[in-house]
Assembly symmetry: C2
Homo-oligomer: 86 residues x 2
């Protein structure tokens, strides 16, 4: 019996896709007096608790989470994702 794994998926807009939410944050930081920020990109992070049947093999779990990203979690037209197994 192995301990249940967790997976962390980080989803960001691809480079070159405009990020108005990040731009709004950059502007708000400037307005608050935080001068040292030249660019901001905002994305999502999704933490998944994997059930025991997925927790035996980290490589297989990573591949399954990548399938979840392709099928539901990320819009791969404009977003890129990264999967980490914790």
């Amino acid at each position: 019996m192995t301990a249940p794994l967790k997976a962390r998926v980080t989803i960001m807009l691809k480079d070159g896709v405009l990020d108005p939410q990040g731009e709004a944050i950059r502007h708000a930081l400037g307005g608050l007096g935080f001068a040292g920020v030249s660019g901001v990109r905002q994305g999502k992070v999704i933490e998944l608790d994997l059930a025991p049947e997925l927790s035996g093999d980290a490589e297989a779990a990573k591949a399954e989470v990548a399938r979840m990203c392709e099928g539901l979690l990320a819009n791969t037209v404009i977003e890129k994702y990264a999967v980490e197994i914790l």
Copy 2:
């Protein structure tokens, strides 16, 4: 002259705060046939490009980004944040 630093801020709801968005993702994954997920939490990730005047000292940059989190980026009543300097 040092290379500009990047900072990554990860903001998650605190444990114990209900996460309906994560719950919706868990439900949707189940509906698509992905059975091996027992829990989902969704959060935000914000990547900051730090200007040269903040990039000289990683510890000082981390402290400044933490101040940005306290002042704008995170709602510390219900959210926790983590700062990484990349």
